[in-house]
């Protein structure tokens, strides 16, 4: 536990799923059936919120720094919203 290294990152699909799960839990990413366009827009917006919170570069893209933060041990309380 002196190391904060997270698990090895997987494929692009694995990373996307990890990010969606993270954003749903901590940033209120909407769940359920929506248009692809709407889903992509929501994902990008929530990702930017998360990047802003952690003072990462706010791109809306799932880069390595962002994924690194998402794999770190943390509190289960959402960062945003009720």
């Amino acid at each position: 536990h002196s190391s904060l290294a997270g698990p090895l990152l997987g494929t692009e699909k694995d990373n996307r799923l990890l990010a969606e799960k993270y954003l749903r839990r901590f940033y209120g990413l909407p769940v359920g059936l929506q248009s692809q366009k709407r889903t992509a827009a929501d994902f990008k917006s929530k990702l930017q919120e998360m990047q802003r919170f952690f003072k990462l570069e706010v791109t809306g893209n799932l880069d390595d720094n962002t994924l690194d933060v998402m794999t770190q041990a943390r509190c289960g309380v959402p960062d945003m919203g009720e």
Binding site: H1, L4, E57, N65, A73, R74, C75, G76, V77, D79
Partner: protein, 367 residues
């Protein structure tokens, strides 16, 4: 800092708590102590007082559970989610749950129960997550020793409940340094396996050539065995070690681990006993020498022979024309020495023996 929506808080300053069950990872007395100490951290800063119940329903019900544990907010096995708590309110409000699939400890060997409990109890009192990476209410776990609340946490909890009327003195941790503060100065800098590490107060920035943003972390959460304040540091790549200086002692680190036999006194290097701390240190890989800076002078240490070169100390100003007379931190890259003093950075060419660029210190952090 942040609060929950509607600034939820306990209406009464006397808040009850009950420890419903215990983790087998620690003795019962250790769990009791961790929880009580975590509560004291918040009561020291506010008018809140905590009363322990041994049966029935308390405001804050504390328990250990794994996966789905009754609140439809399941944990996830080892690592990942460590714990959660609910904001003040009736029923589940204030309740605090720890993931029993984690290994809990009272030191840095596993997830420290006191640190996580102090964070979660902050939620139970109305604190949401902070964006300040030095604050206790920052969502990501990090180990640290000393007083756990930062100024940010104190401001946040006192915004809800006011200060402690007994005016008990609390000394909060400083907020995280701001990388784009134009007056920023560094404590120390070193290379580490291809990355640049910059020390400032209790924190360090990690810069990687492929990372756009520097990463800010508490020193203790990576290296629990070195002090919170670093005076100087350098990497010896041949030994794959980073040497950290603080006061009259030095530590050798190999990755995360302390090298056996350390800490040692800096005078073992051959420095006079009158030197009580170093200002900066830098290893010149091409020559196998380490330069050690103290006030207006510097020494040259030969790593191969383990001795100081003769003819030292020498004057910084004389030997590095264009530089200030003192140094806070220094790094060496491809024939260039980067000296940092106050909020100015000097790029010094070893070949042409002169300063060729003067920049702001935080230019290296992308500002």
């Amino acid at each position: 800092y942040n609060h929950f929506p509607r600034h939820l808080k306990w209406k009464n300053n006397i808040v009850t708590f009950r420890i419903v069950n215990y983790t087998p990872d620690l003795r019962k007395s250790d769990v009791d102590r961790a929880i009580r100490t975590a509560l004291n951290v918040w009561s020291d800063a506010t008018p809140l007082r905590f009363k322990k119940l041994y049966y029935g329903t308390a405001d804050i019900m504390i328990s250990f559970g794994r996966k789905e544990h009754g609140d439809h907010n399941p944990f996830d096995g080892p690592n990942g989610l460590l714990a959660h708590a609910y904001p003040p309110g009736q029923g589940i409000g204030g309740d605090t749950h720890f993931d029993e699939d984690e290994h809990w400890s009272k030191d840095s060997s596993a997830y420290n129960l006191f640190i996580v409990a102090a964070h979660e109890l902050g939620h139970a009192l109305g604190m949401s997550h902070s964006t300040d990476s030095g604050a206790l209410m920052y969502p990501i776990y990090s180990y640290a020793t000393g007083y756990p609340l930062a100024e940010d946490d104190v401001k946040g909890i006192q915004a809800l409940y006011g200060p402690n009327p007994d005016h008990k003195k609390i000394k909060p941790k400083p907020d995280a340094p701001q990388k784009c503060d134009p007056t920023l100065s560094f404590d120390a800098a070193t290379e580490l396996r291809g990355e640049t590490i910059i020390f400032k107060d209790k924190f360090y920035w990690r810069l990687h050539p492929q990372m756009h943003e520097p990463e800010l972390t508490l020193i203790k959460s990576t290296w629990p065995s070195i002090p919170n304040k670093v005076d100087a540091a350098y990497e010896n790549p041949e030994k794959d070690q980073v040497i950290i200086f603080s006061g009259i002692r030095m530590w050798a680190l190999n990755g995360y681990n302390l090298v056996e036999g350390y800490p040692k006194y800096i005078h073992k290097l051959g420095l006079p006993k009158s030197v009580r701390k170093l200002d900066a240190a830098v290893h010149i890989k091409d020559k196998g020498k380490t330069l050690l800076f103290h006030e207006e002078e510097y020494w040259s240490y030969d790593e191969a022979s383990g001795t100081m070169d003769s003819g030292y100390p020498r004057s910084i100003e004389n030997d590095f024309p264009g530089m200030d007379d003192e140094v806070d931190a220094a790094v060496y890259h491809y024939g260039f020495l980067y000296f940092f003093h106050d909020h100015t950075q000097y790029e010094y060419s070893y070949t042409s023996r002169k300063v060729i660029r003067v920049l702001r210190t935080n230019f290296i952090l992308g500002c």
